[in-house]
Symmetry: C2
């Protein structure tokens, strides 16, 4: 366990509220439990809180360790801690697991109070707007009027943007990394393949597998495999694996694994199954597909009309899932509306995953940005 | 039925030979049947024959119609016919279905003479070299000593290259469109996802489904869906579908199809199942993965050492499956070895599929190239 720069031992906390939430689909949902973690201390003025929003496969455990034996720290350990980009000596960091997920916050695996069975496919189709709506409840619960910053990469960036637009007075700044104001046709296509992989698995059983002996593991693994390709750049895959063989010196003319990249992908698929729920994958990718600030507000200019936050937008040159051109679209709209925005397109070989890997380079930019805000 | 520029009614022909073929994997295969079509006439000197090599999902039916009621012509109809790039008034065009496929040439669905049952998973793992080896048998059978050209796009380009390298005296020129001398890690990764989709389908049953009531349709459809994304560019997907909804005016918050791109992909998957065999998909993608001229010959320079053909290499700017940089690698190696090579990188929005769509622009270049050869 890292001792000096880590937040150390942390615990996931839970906040449950019974007041029904009106979802964008028209349905109501209650009760709702939110899983979240916090690092650092909220100051007396309560003006040093930063809300970290996670991506598709993330959870509330963004930094530190759950116990002494933990091998892996939280998913953004390199970015959150004493002296780091999100400096826990200065800021009070909150990370909450989003609605519809499978890591503590209410989602399709939760018991539906109307039936006393897991929601499964009866869980309502939720949106980024809904996710943010329940995050607001958490921030209210923590008695924080205004966040210093909402920050997230990928789908986390969508939530950060939604905060700035729907709750302009509740945040001073907004940090959006490797994200977009609407998913491209190609992005929807990859999500649809992932969903189809899950729903084609006979053990998915229309979502009702929670008490079954067999679960749609193969479908979920497959969904993860295809998504994982989109997180890496061609360049990083080439450097990481090239055409190197896995545990053999020659092609063996069978359908076993030949290449390292095959082994890696299968491993990614398998390990994902152990920590993710297939139904959550369906709901979350759908929320991502539905996110479209242009369609919702008429134009990006109108979407940003009332925002008050200062923005930092970061993209990565080799990110082809949320390519820089999509970040530039956001930056251009903000500039046209006379909003304060800083933009960095970072030259990195790591593709979309760069927001998880390029800690050093992000740190410099984010530190300086937050310093100017606080 | 188009009358003037089409080759009109054509028939698939079959050539079967019993002499066993030594495959690269070490096994022997016999008998072998080759499905092929020809258009135009072989001249007396027998020096006007062009062999068209097809891609993953192609077949021997490259041009014309099989009967008066046929709605769709052959897969390269725009390129083959009187006055077209492959001008049937001048050239004798041959297109043969490759080994391991499912459109007439011996493949996993064929009966294994040793067991009197379909080969299924007992079919040997074949390579591009093996495919070309049996194409040579067909050209021998047609009593053609030297082809004017071997030509193909995508995986067809791999075969065209293999011809030039392994049978240098048997061809005068070689046309390689949207192809590569070795598949990238990303390409292997996508193929592996496709294979995993098929083998995860319970009806695949280790390949033994030919006499079963249910077949691995869902797995095969899924494999096609993911592959299809790689055939289009982000730009062409955006233009073709954007975020337009399918048969609805508003999102309906269900898991039905929302977006046109989803509907399109599902249709592509479904229609592929009707014309393709899941086992063939496994074998053919494996052959594609195994193709590596650098590994096989030590270097690209050594691979091209003894080639005699004149080359035309064409790539497409938005092709991210076989990107221009891979064509340039071939061109550079050929130039370094003082071979004759012409290279065109065509600016097109259509991604990898451009080799099937950019008929007009390809035609000009190919016509001029073939004119100089003949």
């Amino acid at each position: 366990m890292e001792k000096i720069t880590s937040v150390g031992l942390v615990e996931t906390q839970y906040f449950t509220f019974n007041e029904p939430i009106n979802l964008e689909c028209g349905e109501q949902l209650s009760p709702i439990t939110i899983a979240y973690e916090t690092y650092g201390k909220l100051n007396q003025a309560k003006d040093n809180a930063i809300l970290i929003l996670h991506a598709l496969s993330g959870d509330a455990h963004a930094a530190g360790y759950h116990n002494e034996k933990d091998k892996k720290p939280g998913w953004w350990e390199d970015m959150i801690g004493p002296g780091k980009a999100f400096d826990t000596d200065q800021y009070f960091i909150i990370c909450s697991n989003f609605l519809g997920g499978c890591s503590g916050t209410t989602g399709p695996s939760f018991v539906n109070p109307k039936t006393n069975k897991p929601y499964a496919s009866d869980f309502p189709v939720i949106t980024i707007e809904d996710m943010v709506k329940i995050q607001v409840k958490l921030i209210d619960h923590l008695r924080i009027d205004q966040l210093l910053c909402t920050a997230g990469g990928s789908m986390g960036g969508m939530q950060a943007l939604e905060w700035a637009i729907s709750y302009p007075k509740r945040l001073k700044s907004c940090l959006v990394v490797a994200s977009t104001c609407r998913l491209s046709a190609q992005g929807i296509a990859f999500n649809e393949v992932g969903r189809k992989a899950i729903t084609s698995d006979p053990f998915w059983n229309n979502g009702h597998y929670y008490n079954a002996e067999k679960t749609p593991d193969k479908g979920l693994a497959l969904a993860r495999m295809v998504a994982h390709i989109t997180y890496l750049s061609e360049e990083s895959m080439h450097k990481k694996f090239g055409r190197r063989l896995q545990d053999k010196n020659n092609l063996d003319f069978t359908f076993d694994i030949d290449f390292q990249v095959e082994s890696y992908l299968r491993h990614q698929g398998k390990s994902f199954v152990g920590r993710f729920d297939a139904n959550s994958y369906l709901y979350i990718t759908k929320a991502m597909d539905y996110f479209d600030l242009v369609e919702k507000h008429g134009s990006l200019a109108k979407a940003f009309q009332n925002v008050l936050a200062k923005f930092l937008i970061i993209s990565y040159t080799t990110d082809w899932l949320f390519p820089p051109v999509q970040s530039k679209e956001i930056v251009r709209a903000l500039m046209n509306m006379d909003k304060e925005v800083t933009y960095c397109d970072i030259d990195s070989p790591f593709g979309h995953d760069a927001f998880l890997l390029e800690a050093d380079r992000q740190t410099k930019i984010i530190k300086s940005f937050l310093k100017d805000i606080s």
